[in-house]
Symmetry: C3
Subunit: 307 residues, 3 copies
């Protein structure tokens, strides 16, 4: 059993087993319920955003502040020594001496891992390029469990860009801990990569692949949407042809079941129409708000201030 | 009576009546006198500056911090998700879940109003384009009342760009609550717009318009200066011709009365000469410093932590 | 005796005498040992970085936060009113009303001095162009004294760009308070300027100048390295010829003594090879970390909250 989170970095979903994920979810629920208070008091967290991200940065910062902790850092590498040619490792070796934990986002895959090797304090990966963004997955899973309890036996649809979308890949790994059924809905250009579907086969996770959102969507417990970016298509005409099929609006949500929750990692552009926001099943803002207790719980665990 | 500020957004001077303004001024004076302390403890305020503004942002941030609160946000949209094409409404719907109040500046008129409709926490408008900047007006009125008590019977000169200057328009609305006399001093290209002078007529506020600062300035209680920007003139020669007439320096302030206080919203460029700063009547820095207690009082009222 | 730091600005090493430096070092050691805690509580410090500097800014910010204080400011002039043409003096006259102390970096020499004249609170210079950066020197001296006690009788090598390097000039002034021996190691294009060597002569400080790191390095107590920038050379070929001679790597450090500590103000680019980092004598990250207690002590002294 490796339930001791204290001192650990969180870089990738692959560093974690099911028991640990469930433990983190349990602690997150306790934090959200107000069972732990002020547990980051006298702790200082550096938020190093070499690449900008309002949502994630602000969520981490408010998470720390609301538990009584201190936060400092930068919101883009434009205002950092990186400009003077300093290596990432040197930046981290310096800042590790200024704080109790580091939260970082970087555009290069593997940057967070390298940072965690240079740091003497825990490093939380807040996104490294197209690679990993584990706390996004934590809050996704938390939101699902909060809505429907155990994920065993649930059917989850992932829709949109399943080829390049970092979020859906992380989420798939976490979901594979459970006895779920997955439905992949994407244009064929943007299908879930084979090494992920192979992975699901070895884990004996049931999945199917579809071109379109159709009547079978009524049986979904969750529909997790992601954006389809024009730049991903070789042929722009192809993009124009398919894009409408993956947009949720008042009409297309009629395909969903009464208790099919609609999720999205945000920011969205036009893949979910604003008139869907008021639907009871649309929970993407609630999902975003869950980032606060989940990140608080994670920080409390790695700093050893919640048990 | 609408003296319950709790939960309310402050977007425009037009949302407010005289009684409310006086109540806010009273509370601001109490805060400045140290009567309320630490009243923002455990409160978290987001400062969302989609458009940069050091003075206003730092004034709000120190206001919150000095009352024990937490503050987080961004100082320009360059480091926000706005870059990814996210709508203002989505940004607000997310951040509203991270904080107890939102302070925002945006370059688009009406943005703050739209934000207040999307938010579930109070929104304070810290400037939306050429439109409104209510807390500037609050600190202007506070400074005037601090110097001379009630504004009834006072004569206030507004000088400079009265056509485009957002500050003077907001101030005019607030001053219209009192039995004041107004004197507008501007080049004719930059006169107070007619809908504002019509408004004053319906409110039966006495005003006169002048081309130049002259001997009549001796009777002013306050002279509120604003900058004249070259870009506002069709004919650059005309700008060169008139600009000197609206610059305050050692010589021109001899036209003012012994108790004519000189105010300015800052930042100034060259419309007030630095050698005026030491004059007893120059109170523009004191005015800026009053932004702290006034903003603290406003936040305390909308958060319900001062009564 | 001028040991009362309360209310004083720190702009230049020249404002200080030996007794004061030693007093600051003593207080820094006490702070590092945990003897003073929470002494910046209810204090608010503005960090005004008109020019970006991650390391220095973050070090100051964490210093304040970890002692319970508040911090606010900006990390580049891009997000400040400077863009609107406001003078430095006006910015300072405003912000001085928002805080208990100002920490500032500016690209113009003398800016910090001017700011300290406009401010009513203490100003700490965190670097003004090529001029002064006193807290860097404080942490350098602190690190030396922490490693070897009194500096009297010690031999210190300064290597690299001694002509333009602000850090070595400040350090030289501080070292001149002690009975040290100095060794300057640089290409002849980048020698220590004559007015500094003249200054050493009047202070009767022993020094010698060398072209290269050689066997005599074994007798050094400290080797303080700085970067050689290509732009400093008229002839790029000359840069290529000499640069290798001032790079520390596994091989060249064999010239150093067993207790010759290697220091560097950071950030480094390639003047110290990363494979030197694990050497016991490499203390540049430790040195950077000492910035926190030293800056805390300085702020506590000027704010009168440690005695």
């Amino acid at each position: 059993m490796r339930l001791d989170f204290k001192g650990r970095s969180f870089i990738s979903l692959n560093d974690m087993d099911k028991e640990e994920l469930l433990y983190l979810m349990e602690k997150s629920a306790e934090v959200k319920a107000g069972k732990h208070k002020g547990f980051l008091k006298e702790k200082t967290v550096a938020t190093l955003f070499f690449e900008p991200s309002t949502r994630t940065r602000l969520s981490f910062e408010t998470a720390v502040l609301q538990q009584g902790g201190n936060v400092f850092g930068f919101s883009s590498s434009a205002s950092s020594s990186v400009q003077k040619g300093e290596s990432l490792t040197d930046t981290i070796k310096t800042i590790t001496g200024y704080c109790d934990a580091i939260v970082m986002r970087h555009k290069i895959e593997g940057a967070a891992r390298r940072a965690s090797q240079a740091a003497t304090v825990p490093v939380i990966n807040a996104g490294d390029g197209a690679n990993q963004h584990p706390t996004q997955t934590f809050l996704d899973i938390f939101t699902m469990m909060e809505k429907k309890g155990s994920l065993d036996g649930k059917t989850i649809g992932l829709m949109g860009d399943l080829k390049y979308g970092r979020t859906t890949h992380s989420l798939l790994i976490a979901l594979s801990f459970f006895k779920v059924k997955l439905v992949f809905i994407s244009p064929k250009e943007l299908k879930m990569p084979e090494h992920y579907t192979d992975f699901l086969k070895t884990k004996k996770i049931d999945f199917e692949e579809r071109d379109l959102l159709d009547q079978t969507a009524a049986s979904l417990d969750f529909l997790y949407c992601t954006r389809i970016q024009k730049e991903r298509f070789f042929d722009p005409m192809e993009y124009e042809r398919v894009k409408g099929s993956y947009i949720l609006d008042r009409e297309s949500i009629s395909l969903l079941g009464d208790s099919t929750y609609i999720m999205h990692p945000l920011p969205r552009v036009d893949e979910i129409s604003e008139d869907v926001d008021d639907d009871q099943r649309a929970i993407y803002f609630e999902q975003a708000h869950n980032g606060v207790p989940v990140r608080q719980a994670l920080l409390g665990l790695v700093l050893g201030t919640i048990k």
